[in-house]
């Protein structure tokens, strides 16, 4: 494998992403507003419950979790469904298909520069701020390593799901509804908007058997690592690894059987 061509895509992605300074600023402000809403919402929830600890989480536990989930969301969201949908509608997908690289790889690496930028622009600052403000809510130890491994796998799972949903656009030729549906499902079932601990028992069991919780819940659980038991960590990472392979296989297969929509029926 020639790594240079992938890194070259990353490099261009970084440069392109840096061109849009204003958009980075707006994203930052938007997130701030979102977090303020989250703060008051959960404050109200805790106040109305009248208890310090709800579902095993204190108010600050929940808030820290959600702040980090938001940062992680901004880091990981790739808008692949949008891109694929637009490329399919406009026919520009032809150009991507004619790259000397498999399309799923090309699109991933084309975006990858944004990971680097977003890491330094949102994830790392949020991490530091949370760390400093809470005086050690984030343990600094092996859990950081687990977190990094977990995030890498989460990114891959997230991309596979996005690519799968993007492929549906080959049949529907519309993006809007599909994309919204995907976002809602992923954000809800992954634990990005509500910590999974708050779900009712049956739903929580179902969610644990779905790939979505591997995207946000797993890395955050490892990061905030209540349990540093190596077996627990192994189970979380192992589950993610399984989902990496399963989602990869499914989205690849789906793309393969769907491609004739273009090659046979025309773009």
């Amino acid at each position: 494998m020639n790594l240079k061509k992938y890194l070259s895509l990353t490099r261009n992605g970084i440069m392109e992403s840096l061109q849009f300074r204003l958009s980075m600023f707006i994203v930052f402000v938007g997130n701030l507003l979102y977090l303020i809403v989250v703060y008051f919402l959960w404050k109200a929830i805790y106040a109305s419950s009248g208890e310090e600890v709800v579902n095993g989480m204190t108010f600050s536990d929940t808030l820290i979790y959600l702040v980090l989930a938001t940062a992680l969301f901004n880091f990981m969201e790739m808008y692949t469904v949008w891109q694929m949908g637009r490329a399919i509608q406009s026919g520009a997908i032809v150009l991507t298909l004619l790259k000397p690289m498999e399309i799923r790889r090309y699109m991933f690496w084309e975006y990858s520069g944004n990971f680097v930028v977003n890491f330094f622009a949102t994830l790392l600052p949020t991490f530091i701020v949370v760390s400093v403000v809470t005086h050690g809510a984030i343990p600094l130890g092996l859990n950081l390593l687990y977190f990094v491994i977990s995030v890498v796998m989460a990114v891959i799972i997230n991309y596979n799901i996005d690519f799968f949903v993007g492929t549906i656009c080959l049949y529907t030729e519309s993006i809007w509804g599909i994309n919204i549906m995907k976002q809602v499902i992923v954000l809800l079932l992954s634990g990005a908007t509500i910590p999974i601990a708050f779900f009712p028992d049956t739903i929580r069991t179902i969610v644990y058997w779905l790939p979505f919780q591997s995207i946000y819940n797993s890395p955050l659980t490892l990061l905030l690592g209540k349990s540093s038991d190596i077996r627990d960590v192994g189970i979380v990472l192992g589950t993610q690894l399984i989902w990496v392979f399963v989602t990869y296989a499914i989205s690849k297969l789906f793309w393969k059987i769907s491609l004739p929509q273009i090659t046979v029926n025309g773009g």
Partner: protein, 333 residues
């Protein structure tokens, strides 16, 4: 030598849903299985040699883009066989991509927000072009166009002409065997068109690249192509040298004269004098379509002058444009 593109009896059909009209129709369409088959390309056969520039012409919707997409491997033919560089293009699309370059009219493969040179560097890496080849190509580009100011300009700030030029350079960068240009001069001004034609011509000469060019601009065809292929409604109408095409129709010339008196009446009289020729009159000229294989223009003119005073005259060659128009309208017998 084996042809670089070999197309044998290729047909491409699309299944299209029969749409109904109105709101009720649209709702019924949701559950409709009523498809009709549209034949976009119908039994086309041609072979193209390395280094040729082939003009691929046809009215809108004739099936040009479909054919090009099949050659690039984006579309699979319904029946028949296409070989590009001896391989089936849709089976090995990613590998085949190494040997082809494409410019699709208004679409750009360049990185929008970045200076052109960054797109070039990326292409260098993903096509795995060696430093030596890359430098050689850039040197060639420098000798052909004034590329230096373009290289450091973000693509989104470029004019359409500059961007098209850049896209063409990008398509040739990895020195592919074949470059497909789908309407490269669409929407460009005259001087940019000329620049782009010169560039394509030079790159073809220098690198012996096969160029397949679709266009509606006969200027492109006259400047670049020795061979043209014309298709309409998916069927191939013509595949031969452009000179042959002109010879085919070019034995006709139009003689235009202006004489004293009423042109309409005069035209009728002339029409009787030369029953074999088509004579028409408008407000200014009497046009006589002369088939030079039967009678020369000079003979006609001499004969005309004997009986009346010809005050002015013009001689019109049939242009490629007119020939093509004639073929679109009537076909080749």
């Amino acid at each position: 030598m084996a042809p670089v593109i070999d197309i044998k009896n290729v047909t491409k059909e699309f299944k299209v849903l029969n749409r109904r009209e109105g709101l009720a129709g649209s709702i019924k369409d949701l559950f409709s299985r009523d498809y009709k088959t549209v034949r976009a390309v119908d039994n086309i056969t041609m072979s193209i040699e390395q280094g040729e520039i082939v003009g691929y012409l046809g009215p809108n919707g004739a099936g040009k883009s479909t054919t090009i997409k099949m050659m690039t491997g984006v579309l699979e033919p319904t029946s028949g066989e296409i070989l590009v560089n001896g391989k089936l293009p849709y089976k090995n699309r990613s590998k085949n991509a190494q040997n082809i370059g494409v410019v699709f009219g208004q679409r750009s493969q360049l990185w929008w927000a970045l200076p052109l040179v960054e797109s070039f560097r990326l292409l260098k890496d993903i096509y795995q072009i060696s430093d030596e080849d890359y430098d050689g190509m850039m040197k060639l580009y420098r000798s052909l166009v004034d590329i230096e100011p373009l290289l450091h300009k973000p693509v989104r700030q470029m004019s359409l002409g500059q961007r098209t030029l850049s896209d063409i350079l990008a398509a040739f960068l990895h020195n592919p065997k074949i470059v497909f240009l789908d309407e490269p001069t669409i929407g460009l001004d005259v001087s940019m068109k000329a620049k782009i034609r010169t560039l394509i011509h030079a790159l073809n000469k220098e690198k012996n690249t096969t160029v397949i060019l679709t266009t509606h601009d006969m200027g492109d065809v006259d400047a670049l192509c020795r061979r043209i292929v014309i298709i309409d409604k998916g069927r191939m109408l013509y595949d031969n040298d452009i000179s042959h095409l002109k010879g085919f129709f070019g034995s006709y010339r139009t003689l235009k004269i202006r004489v004293d008196g009423d042109l309409k009446k005069e035209a009728e009289v002339i029409g009787k004098e030369f029953p074999a020729l088509k004579v028409e009159a408008d407000d200014e000229w009497i046009s006589i379509l002369v088939d030079e294989e039967k009678i020369t223009v000079m003979e006609v003119l001499t004969k005309l002058q004997k009986t009346r005073r010809v005050r002015d005259m013009q001689l019109e060659e049939i242009s490629t444009e007119e020939v093509i128009k004639k073929i679109y309208e009537e076909g080749v017998e």
